[in-house]
């Protein structure tokens, strides 16, 4: 009989081990996805930094009257670039200012009917819209993945072991109201 009970215990232990491994693997792969998503945001922010000088010089000729707006964009960009090697939390305010400056630039460009007819300006607008969208979508993807990761950790029965296996909830990428208003 002891043989049989040993076998039973062994099977249960193996099943538990397999389950543990699968929980660990799924959580680990979710964590890698989050890291990738975060890297994507980084890539898109960098892309925006690289794009802005070209965009500004492309429309400078058409927008002589709006030199202030253009300068604000350039300044916000240089500030964002300056902190680009810092942690996320430190970068968010500078990037939020840049976003605000760019949206103002878009708004201004909308106000000139003669500008809207120029093909270069249209292409410029499209690039700007897409740049902003890319950052927004990268952030959305990151937040979706964080939500998946956190949900996977807090649901029963994984919540009993997630901490033990070395997982902790990730933080979402949110822009606070004060930063949004900081224009």
């Amino acid at each position: 009989m002891s043989n049989l009970s040993l076998i039973v215990i062994g099977v249960i232990a193996a099943a538990l081990l397999i389950w543990f491994i699968s929980v660990f693997n799924s959580l680990a792969s979710l964590r890698v996805r989050i890291q990738n998503a975060w890297a994507e945001i980084d890539v898109q922010l960098k892309r925006r930094h690289d794009l802005i000088p070209n965009l500004v010089s492309a429309v400078r000729g058409y927008m002589e009257h709006e030199r202030l707006t253009l300068e604000a964009v350039t300044e916000a960009r240089s500030k964002a670039v300056a902190v680009s090697s810092a942690t996320i939390a430190d970068r968010v305010p500078a990037e939020a200012v840049l976003t605000a400056a760019l949206s103002k630039l878009l708004l201004v460009a909308e106000q000139y009917p003669q500008l809207r007819a120029v093909e270069n300006v249209q292409l410029f607008q499209e690039q700007l819209v897409s740049t902003e969208n890319r950052i927004a979508f990268a952030r959305q993807f990151y937040n979706d993945e964080v939500m998946k990761f956190n949900t996977a950790q807090v649901t029963f029965p994984r919540n009993l072991f997630a901490g033990m296996l070395g997982f902790s909830p990730a933080t979402m990428f949110t822009v606070s109201e004060s930063e949004r208003a900081n224009v």
Binding site: R33, Q122, L123, Q127, R134, F137, A138, Q140, F141
Partner: protein, 621 residues
């Protein structure tokens, strides 16, 4: 926007009354994902059921071939006695199972199980091997290869619309966390899009130029989010699996037909050649794969007439030799007919519909994922509405129509206005060209409106309005030039009027005319017979209304027309009245297939016995 507005006019439609159950896109995704799991189980069961009569008919054929080979070999070198004992045992087990099937005489269960295995396994094994082979053969080209060979180009970044398209694809790929698929732009006025390829890593998105021109940025985002989500969900692999089942059936039919006709042999030869072709030219290879797939799928749908021509060839001049030959080969003819009928029946009534429903669930799933990516259900809803009321057929995509965002045939519409075909577009242009200073200018933007205008002017002309008559005559001239036919060939006003009062002869003349016009079109599309792999009575595309309803639940602002209760009552009435008859017909067909299977089994068994005896007698001499 004009179509959308006309559909949203007060009176023509109203929002559904009562509380609407909202659903988050995550819930919708989960629901549809579970539904696809269930439906794949159902499809697998259907495939197995379809396999039973197939295996039953193919197995004896395999035995016959094996026996003949053994007989021929034993003419030269006698085979060991063990082999004949083994063959004898197989025959006895098989006969026992057959007797039980035909007469219900029970022998012991063990014999029956072995007998069943003897009858089913070889055929099932052959089908499985063929299926694996088809999978391995076509894996490298994936689905939608025909589109790959189209004259497509990359988007041009200095064109606003194309830059926007490229940007939106990048954005959606970022939103889905996938590598950005390559874009193939087709210069076609049709507006449709499809995702093709084998996996998320090498997926491509085919977009026609008309789509860019017709949709706003939000709508474009919705459309591309749907395609990217579909790629991310692994729909390409599912589509591939689905077609491979039908391709296997076609390959089986081609194999059986091969000894009898050039058509099947040519197909097989193309398959073999494709298997050994160098893998350099990707696009051409993919196109060939798609052409083969289309050929094989049609083979499964009784398209190979080789064996019939073979047997009928003797009917014109009756020679003794030929009738002897026909008599000898009759069992194979019967087997072929049985396989064709059972393939057709089961794929029409079971496998096709369950796979079509499965595919619809995938479409809903991709819609729900698109809402997650864009967080804007209105964009997709509005785009779907627009695309469904415009010309959506992309040449080369007929066979793979299930891969497209909206049905290229454009069969379902909400507003009831006919989809604009090339013909109506040509007519609309001709109408605009015939306008003189005094006339109302043709509203060339919407062909369906122009068609209405033409009809009203025509009616006015018949009623005696001189100005309208002059306009109609001018139009007749421009339209004849546009269609490339002489003016005399155009239908007269009297014919149009008579056809409206359902005069048979006038209608026939009009039909002749439209056929002639179709022949004259430069890029005439093939008829619809090769659109979908056998989908049975259920289409692969969910109706626009159902998609909009689901998007509406996820928060889109669509004004859905309330369902017409009268139609539903009519359908229910029909179902109650005709349902029993349909069931009876289905039952009769199943019985017929059973009888055919048994007959072909018996005939081949007899055939085998006779041939074997002939060989034995021959060997003794």
């Amino acid at each position: 926007m004009s179509q959308a507005n006309s559909a949203m006019q007060p009176g023509s439609s109203r929002p559904i009354a009562g509380p609407r159950d909202r659903e988050s896109f995550l819930d919708a995704q989960r629901r549809n994902r579970h539904a696809t799991w269930r439906l794949s189980a159902v499809s697998a069961v259907a495939a197995v059921i379809m396999g039973i009569p197939l295996a039953l008919t193919i197995t004896p054929l395999l035995y016959a071939v094996g026996l003949m080979a053994a007989d021929i070999v034993s003419l030269f070198t006698p085979l060991p006695a063990g082999f004949w004992q083994f063959a004898n045992a197989i025959g006895q087990y098989g006969t026992a199972a057959l007797v039980w099937l035909l007469q219900g005489k029970s022998s012991d269960p063990q014999t029956l199980v072995v007998g069943g295995a003897v009858l089913l396994l070889p055929g099932a094994l052959l089908s499985a091997v063929l299926w694996r082979g088809v999978n391995a053969l076509f894996r490298r080209s994936g689905v939608g290869g025909a589109l790959m060979a189209l004259k497509a180009r990359e988007p041009n970044p200095s064109d606003l619309g194309e830059l926007r398209l490229a940007d939106v694809v990048q954005e959606m790929a970022i939103a889905a966390g996938l590598p950005a698929p390559r874009i193939m732009l087709i210069d076609s006025p049709a507006s449709n899009a499809a995702a093709i390829g084998t996996s998320p890593d090498d997926a491509r998105i085919v977009v026609s130029r008309g789509l860019i021109e017709q949709l706003s940025r939000d709508e474009l985002e919705g459309v591309l989010a749907h395609l990217v989500a579909s790629i991310g969900n692994g729909d390409l692999r599912i589509a591939f699996r689905v077609t491979s089942v039908f391709e296997t059936c076609g390959l089986l039919v081609a194999l059986i037909n091969a000894p009898f006709g050039p058509h099947a042999r040519r197909t097989l030869w193309r398959v073999v050649r494709y298997g050994f072709s160098p893998k350099k030219d990707e696009a051409a290879g993919a196109a060939e794969a798609d052409a083969l797939a289309s050929l094989l799928t049609r083979g499964g749908e009784m398209d190979f007439d080789d064996i019939d021509t073979f047997f009928n060839s003797g009917s014109s001049k009756r020679s003794v030799l030929r009738s002897i030959r026909n008599f000898l080969l009759f069992p194979i003819f019967l087997t072929n007919a049985t396989i064709k009928i059972s393939l057709w029946f089961f794929s029409f009534s079971m496998l096709g519909p369950s796979i079509a429903l499965l595919w619809r669930k995938r479409v809903y799933l991709a819609d729900a994922c698109a809402v997650q990516l864009t967080r804007n259900p209105d964009g997709l809803a509005e785009a779907l509405r627009k695309l469904n009321s415009s010309y959506a057929r992309i040449p080369g995509g007929e066979w793979a129509s299930h891969l497209f965002l909206v049905n290229p045939r454009g069969s379902d519409r909400l507003s009831g206005t006919p989809a604009s075909t090339p013909q109506t577009q040509v007519l609309a242009r001709a109408w605009a060209a015939s306008a003189t200073a005094g006339d109302t200018p043709g509203r060339s933007g919407d062909p369906s409106l122009v068609m209405k205008e033409i009809m009203t002017t025509g009616r006015a002309a018949m009623a005696g309005d001189q100005q309208a008559m002059a306009r109609m005559l001018a139009f007749r001239q421009t339209a004849a030039t546009a269609f490339g036919i002489s003016e005399a060939e155009m239908p007269s006003l009297e014919d149009l009027a008579a056809a409206q009062h359902s005069d048979m002869q006038a209608m026939r003349r009009l039909r002749d005319f439209s056929r002639r016009v179709e022949r004259n079109q430069p890029n005439r599309e093939r008829s619809s017979s090769k659109t979908n792999p056998s989908s049975g009575f259920a289409g692969f595309h969910p109706s626009l209304k159902r998609r909009l309803k689901r998007l509406d639940r996820m928060g889109a602002h669509v004004a859905l027309e309330a369902t017409d209760r009268k139609i539903w009552m009519f359908i229910a009435f029909l179902a109650v009245v005709l349902g029993p008859f349909a069931l009876l017909a289905l039952g009769l067909l199943v019985v017929l297939i059973g009888i055919l299977t048994m007959t072909s089994l018996t005939f081949i068994a007899l055939w085998m016995a006779v041939i074997h005896q002939v060989f034995v007698v021959f060997a003794h001499h």
